[in-house]
């Protein structure tokens, strides 16, 4: 469970101070699905970084299961990321020289899992996203949708509590978009994840049971009943 209290993030660009997040309060329960929407530069990705422990707020608290990520030393924060948080990026962010299976394995490396187990778990994860036949393929040999599915397998192979997705369909065409959203939704349900997704796509936003909109660093959360 996430609890964000008075989260502020300021960047200094030359003489200007940019308030990427301006006193954000937000609670995300275990197993929740939250979609974050807003204009470019509004602070969506910054909020996602705070949730993922990729960056620290200038002030405020980002509490995950009772631990304030803002105060954690780097080593422990890294550990939280490696064990509890899965990321899916807009540009897939696969390592171009590694095969699909090896890319998925990279998420298990920090956990100290033996190579044979890593390979087995990575293969299973890829099968679960429909890429059981593409284990040895390099990212360049896969379509955009397939690459994103590899990225989803990589995010989920360690069985995290949280899945954070930053515009996961941003680089995909419509058919691919639906395919990926189906996979993400299925995974969310199967794994009982807390799923936070940033998107520009209004169609996707409309489907979300809970929608957070960020403008100029300020957040507004809309709850939908029956969604």
């Amino acid at each position: 469970m996430y609890e964000l209290r008075g989260v502020t993030k300021r960047y200094t660009r030359g003489k200007d101070v940019v308030h990427a997040l301006d006193g954000v309060d937000l609670t995300i329960g275990d197993g929740d699905r939250l979609v974050i929407q807003g204009p470019t530069g509004g602070g969506k990705s910054t909020l996602l970084q705070m949730l993922g422990g990729l960056d620290r707020p200038t002030s405020g608290e980002v509490v995950l299961d009772g631990t304030d990520l803002a105060e954690l030393p780097e080593a422990r924060l890294t550990r939280v990321r490696s064990e509890n948080i899965g990321f899916v990026f807009q540009s897939f962010n696969l390592i171009p020289t590694l095969t699909a299976q090896e890319n998925v394995e990279t998420a298990l490396v920090p956990l100290g899992i033996k190579a044979a187990d890593r390979r087995e778990r990575a293969a299973e994860a890829l099968k679960s996203v429909g890429l059981g036949e593409r284990l040895g393929h390099l990212p360049s040999e896969l379509s955009g949708g397939q690459q994103q599915r590899v990225a989803i397998a990589r995010a989920l192979v360690k069985q995290p509590k949280v899945l954070l997705a930053d515009e996961p369909t941003g680089n995909l065409d419509e058919s691919m978009r639906d395919e990926i959203m189906d996979v993400l939704e299925r995974m969310w349900k199967e794994h009982g994840l807390t799923f936070v997704m940033v998107t520009h796509d209004s169609a996707l936003a409309k489907k979300a049971p809970r929608l957070a909109t960020i403008r100029k660093g300020r957040i507004t959360v809309t709850e939908k009943t029956g969604a």
Binding site: Q49, L54, T78, R81, S82, L98
Partner: protein, 482 residues
């Protein structure tokens, strides 16, 4: 994962990797060539010194230089005018101690008694000048020209002297009186007996000689031939071939015989000294100088300083230009490797950011970068070693000939022309010119140095890149997307 990732990355960026490796290879190859050429110079210098000293000699003791005492010691040749018409050849041998300076033979015992001296052996270097030939008397002839012998001009018979003169041949060579009881030390050790035999330790006063191969060839000497020195006949028992450069002398005879020939009874020109510990040569030198007055002690290091000529120039070049060029190229290669690695990290910001986002510690990412750089360095090292070995092989194959001028204070008394090359021989005062072929031996130390440099190059490059990678924030993986 470490090795798989490393291998794939190097393969992906093989052009950049090749540039980094080539730069390092060039630097390392230069270091190998310069180092091995320096080694070759050292060996060449050693050969030059050995040709003077013989093997195992750490230092020589000679008489301290004294001011020349007029021309009392200059060789004089006396030929008598003969009244008859004899066509007999006359000859006169002059056998002189080299440099005209000798030490009492007791010096050898004295030197041998010094602390740190393992063994000492005396030798007498002689220069022999043999002038032989004949005079022909002039004949008085009556005629128009010539020298008017008597009477007034224009009156009486005229006489002139025709013919007459002298035809003399000067043969100069060197003889070394060796202590046959101690064959392990002295100039003869630098030669190999290629025919016949060397002296027996019992032949202390035998009329036997060993001839230098080059001299024997010139004079058509062989084992069993005889040579005559100042009227004494010696049987040639062996032919010695100098292992490098010129031989120390043309003929070697037992010390006592040399002393007898030169009239230098119980005298030696040089004492060859072997120290018990090669690290203590300085101390032994000081002890001899202090305790055996009137002597000059020359170590091989001292003698090495007197080496001049192209060998010396080449050695200076290797030590100066070569060393600094290697350092400059290495520094440039390290810098280029570092900058290229750092820039490669910059191009992989998202990749490393993603890994950090996945929970890879900074240390693991840094290790990956350093690992890649070290492998790059090692590839450069292997290329560099191959290139360096090829370079060293070429130098050895071409074997450029270097000339070394050794020696110092000239030929001693005798004035200009009195001390030329024929006065060369063992000892401090010798001036000697040798030709040695340059080789470039690659030692295990040089290879170890090259490997060390390769690893160092990789680590330096890795440090650049690793530092950059360690400073990347995982948020950069996302930021790039926006």
């Amino acid at each position: 994962m470490f090795f798989t990732y490393l291998r794939r990355e190097l393969r992906r960026r093989r052009k950049a990797a090749l540039v980094v490796a080539s730069g390092l290879a060039l630097g390392i190859a230069l270091v190998i060539v310069v180092n091995s050429v320096s080694n070759g110079m050292g060996r060449a210098q050693e050969k030059v010194l050995q040709s003077l000293y013989g093997l195992g000699t750490d230092m020589t003791v000679t008489k301290a230089a004294t001011p020349a005492s007029g021309d009392a010691q200059r060789p004089r040749f006396r030929f008598e005018a003969k009244d008859d018409d004899s066509e007999d050849k006359q000859s006169s041998d002059r056998v002189m101690a080299q440099g005209f300076t000798t030490l009492p033979a007791s010096t050898v015992t004295e030197v041998a008694g010094q602390k740190g001296v393992s063994s000492a052996v005396g030798g007498l270097s002689l220069n022999v000048v043999k002038v032989s030939g004949q005079f022909t008397r002039g004949q008085f002839q009556q005629g128009d020209g010539g020298v008017e012998m008597r009477g007034k001009p224009g009156a009486g018979p005229r006489y002139r002297i025709e013919g007459g003169g002298a035809d003399f041949d000067v043969n100069m060579y060197t003889v070394y009186g060796t202590d046959v009881t101690q064959p392990a030390l002295g100039p003869l050790t630098s030669s190999e007996i290629t025919s016949g035999r060397t002296f027996k330790t019992t032949e202390t006063n035998a009329k036997v000689a060993v001839a230098d191969a080059a001299y024997a060839k010139e004079k058509k000497l062989r084992t069993g031939s005889t040579v005559t020195i100042k009227g004494a006949t010696y049987e040639v028992i062996g032919i010695a071939t100098a292992s490098s450069g010129d031989a120390a002398a043309n003929l070697y005879i037992p010390l006592k015989q040399a002393q007898k020939l030169s009239g230098e009874k119980d005298k030696v020109t040089t004492v060859y000294v072997k120290a018990t510990d090669s690290q203590q040569i300085g101390a032994v030198k000081s002890a001899i100088r202090k305790n055996v007055p009137g002597t000059t002690v020359t170590t091989s290091a001292d003698l090495a300083k007197t080496v001049s000529g192209s060998l010396s120039t080449a050695a200076d070049l290797a030590a100066g230009v070569g060393k600094w060029l290697s350092i400059a190229v290495l520094v440039a290669a390290f810098l280029v490797a570092g900058l290229l690695t750092s820039s490669a990290v910059s191009r992989r910001v998202r990749e490393f950011g993603t890994l950090k986002a996945l929970g890879w510690k900074s240390g693991r990412v840094t290790r990956q970068v350093v690992g890649e750089a070290v492998v790059n360095g090692l590839v450069g090292g292997v290329l560099g070693i191959a290139l360096g070995l090829a370079g060293a092989y070429v130098v050895t194959a071409v074997s450029p000939t270097l000339q070394a001028q050794l020696g110092g204070s000239g030929g001693g008394p005798g004035g200009p022309g009195g001390g030329g090359a024929f006065l060369a021989g063992p000892g401090r005062q010798a001036a000697k010119s040798l030709e040695v072929a340059l080789t470039a031996p690659v030692s295990a130390t040089t290879i170890a140095l090259a490997v060390g440099l390769a690893v160092a190059g990789g680590l330096i490059a890795g440090a650049f890149g690793g530092w950059r990678a360690s400073r990347l924030r995982p948020a950069d993986a996302l930021r790039r997307v926006e």
